[in-house]
Amino acid sequence: MQPDGRSREGWTRREFVRGAAGLVALPYLASPSPGFAYVASGEGAIQVFLVQGERWTRIQRVSSPAPACVLLSPSQQTLYVANEVEAHEGLPRGTVEAFDIDPLDGRLTLSSRRPLSLSATRPRHMALSPDGKMLAVAAYGGGIYNLFPVAEDGSLVQPASIFKDAGCGGDPQLQGAAHPHSLVFDSSGRLLASDFGSDRLSVFAVEGGRLQRLAQRPTGRGSGPGATVLHPGGSLFYAWHELESALACYRYDAMSGTVGETIQRLPFPSSSAGTLAMHPSGRMLYASQGVWQIDGGSGRLTRTEHLLPNATQISAAPDGGSVYILDGGTGSIYQLPANRVTGELHSKTRVALVCEPKSIAIRTRSG
């Protein structure tokens, strides 16, 4: 394995394990504009990389039980990790971890691991409120949402609000119960959630630190809504329907907190899990099924010719200059330069290899 972490095709598991063991340190301090990447790995760890352009150097491996989602605080001083576990200390509940980030070298130090509420198992997704004061966690297994207050130092204590959902979907095998999947806050602090298990989208208000459901929007029997993104303009909401294998665009009324009409529904041949990411410009949507140009007026999608590698997760850098793709099958992480204005992508470079990459967060050095 090359010391900078870049690769060519054909890396073996042994190679990247060996590479992980030989962590290198600190050559980046003199490099221009470095950042850090935090990757949740299915081997039970968070892998930390120094990012210098397309040169990624692994600098730390931190144990973490079944990390499924990583999320940076607005200040970029804390990394939150959802641990997709069935039980913690003998009780059926997942956990969420908070890591302090060293402002200089980007390394992680675990500051807290907090249990979710009873029966809130297998959390897969999280979202931070716009002011960074609330962390919402979707417990896929237990059908429960937890809302944690975030302390000044970024730490978590216990959920201030617990919402136990109930429901089912069209597929009795896969949708026998509510399974909260993805979360996103709108700019006013309302929480939008997709529920794979009960074929619906929900909008929650956060009032007095408590979750209160404002509206529910069915997505169609057996649709299985999964990944979602909210357009930066705030009035368009995109959802990938896993079971139906369709990409749907909904009107979202931020004033009333309701998900309205279906603007577009794009079916695909076979059902599959999928992921979505929005370019900060709001002009491009990246999905497992391709790259889509967004019509600024209607919100409708037009497919571009750009092909993406297999993606289990896609993430766009906050500055719009890069898009990152995690291929859970091969363990590859790709970086694709993006046009900051249009979101158009350029050719990919494989920048790292991680065992079962699940989720990625990018910290810019300026943060």
């Binding site: 059926p92 509420s117 029966s119 109930a166 429901g167 089912c168 026998g176 119960a177």
Partner: protein, 508 residues
């Protein structure tokens, strides 16, 4: 509408508390509201409102749950059924009805006065029927008449379907038979909210019973003598106690810590016909203890108030002892415990055979062990007689109580008042229990009465969350057969969203 008690209501301070004060304390963990339900319809409406609002419901009938399953439910709703006490409803016909909010003492009085019958339930007057019966419903008359669940003919239960809609089901052997069986001993807080138990028939209440209470001096009890005492008790249960004419005998050996000064032995007896004309089986039982210098006493067993002190209606002598003959209801109702609030901890085990000498020595070691700075008065290992009618093997398949081969049932109990004592007492109890149940079990199950030729696990109505440390805890409570998979199947079918859950609820 149920009576809603929120945090701003003056009643909240009392109603949100647990009887076990170990679970009090953190206001952030307490329920958001309490709904006092007087009818099944009120309970259904409140439950639906909880689900719509995303609140986790917990359920309380008498409030005697040994574990922290109910009152600590942050942001949730506690459905309190203590006012749901219907004696009979239109349509019940000749059936007997017991409502979940009825206290056992109330149920005994009501059944006795109206019909002259009873249930073989627990001895604590104000334990609520709801939790007691769904967990099995074992008590003083169980050797004579089996468990309470062995007599239940039908139930009414609120369940939540997979869409989140509440429905009232009437279940029996022919309607939702799987759910019915699961509720016959599977434990409360798993599948729904039981709003009524119906019985086609019940056993006649005994006319009278003989009560007696003895104690043995602790300080003079050598290890050999202590071992002999335990083996004498266990031998009777393993041998003579299996014969039908003894099934009217309930005996409890109260193995207190040595610091209490005395070891207690309490008993109640009647002949199979509910009278006390032939006390020979009782004499035989008492003869076993002559060598241990028993002292008759009128007070209850230390730490165990199941036998109320009272002036006997008729004291008669049998052998060298005097026995109180009391009318059954008089003996059953009174200061029969269960009303105390304090700090408490519990553990349990079912025993299929007599104590081994190694077990007896282990028990002696811990009950005579002094822990600096820890007051172990109020600590009792209560060894109850078991078996008899309970051990009808076919009932294991029609109920969810699988323990049908035991001769003794052990309840470890501790009672104290000050939070500062928690750590020392709990540590002593855990060490005692772990050591004892490492004697006769396979090494991988050490520390638990894992089902084997000696033990039949633990009683789900004496839940002990310490057992969650063992990944095989469901097998300890529900056995190694097909019961737990069956309960999981029922859980998936009737509560697919896991609306009803607590630390030790059925997991799918």
């Amino acid at each position: 509408m149920a009576i809603r008690v929120t945090r701003s209501d003056p009643r909240y301070a009392l109603l949100q508390r647990s009887r076990n004060l170990r679970w009090d304390g953190n206001a952030a963990d307490a329920v958001a509201e309490i709904e006092l339900c007087e009818t099944a319809e009120q309970a259904a409406e409140a439950l639906q409102r909880a689900i719509n609002a995303g609140m986790r419901p917990t359920v309380r009938s008498g409030g005697h749950c040994y574990e922290d399953f109910v009152v600590n439910n942050p942001g949730g709703m506690l459905l309190d059924l203590s006012l749901l006490k219907s004696d009979a409803l239109p349509g019940d016909g000749d059936r007997y009805r017991i409502s979940p909010g009825q206290q056992l003492g109330e149920a005994y009085i009501d059944l006795y006065k109206r019909r002259g019958v009873t249930i073989p339930g627990g001895s604590c007057y104000n334990v609520g029927a709801g939790g007691h019966i769904t967990g099995g419903g074992y008590g003083v008359l169980s050797r004579l008449h089996g468990l309470t669940v062995d007599w239940v003919s039908a139930m009414e239960i609120l369940t939540v379907d997979n869409k989140g809609h509440v429905a009232l089901r009437k279940i029996d052997r022919h309607h939702d038979a799987d759910l019915f069986r699961a509720c016959l001993g599977g434990g409360g807080g798993n599948f729904g909210i039981v709003t009524g138990f119906l019985f086609d028939r019940l056993p006649a209440a005994p006319f009278e019973v003989a009560n007696a209470h003895f104690s043995f001096d602790w300080p003079s009890m050598t290890e050999d003598k202590f071992t002999a005492l335990l083996l004498a008790f266990g031998d009777y249960m393993a041998q003579r106690g299996c014969e039908r004419d003894t099934w009217g005998l309930f005996a409890a050996l109260g193995l207190s810590h040595i610091s209490s000064g005395r070891i207690g032995l309490g008993l109640q007896f009647c002949n199979p016909d509910g009278r006390c004309d032939d006390l020979k089986p009782l004499d035989e039982f008492l003869d076993r203890f002559e060598d241990f210098d028993p002292v008759e006493r009128r007070a209850g067993v230390p730490g165990d108030q199941r036998f109320a002190p009272r002036t006997p209606a008729d004291r008669q002598h049998t052998g060298r002892y005097s026995i109180d003959r009391l009318l059954w209801l008089e003996a059953t109702i009174g200061d029969s415990g269960g009303g105390h609030s304090g700090r408490a901890a519990y553990k349990s085990s079912y025993m299929k055979r007599n104590f081994t000498p190694a077990e007896a020595k282990c028990i002696y070691k811990h009950l005579t062990r002094m822990v600096p700075g820890v007051d172990l008065r109020g600590s009792v290992m209560a060894v109850d007689s078991y078996g008899g009618a309970v051990n009808a093997k076919d009932l294991a398949a029609t109920t969810s109580v699988w323990q049908r081969s035991s001769i003794m049932k052990v309840q470890f109990q501790q009672y104290w008042d000050r939070a500062e004592e928690d750590a020392g007492r709990l540590q002593w109890m855990q060490e005692f229990y772990t050591d004892l149940y490492s004697q006769e079990v396979e090494p991988q199950y050490a520390g638990t009465p894992y089902p084997n030729e000696y033990y039949e696990g633990c009683y789900i109505n004496y839940p002990d969350s310490d057992m969650l440390a063992y990944p095989f805890w469901p097998q300890v409570y529900y056995g190694t057969g097909d019961l737990y998979p069956f309960l999981q199947q029922v859980k998936r079918r009737y509560d697919s969203n896991n609306i009803f859950h607590h630390k030790m609820s059925i997991r799918t």
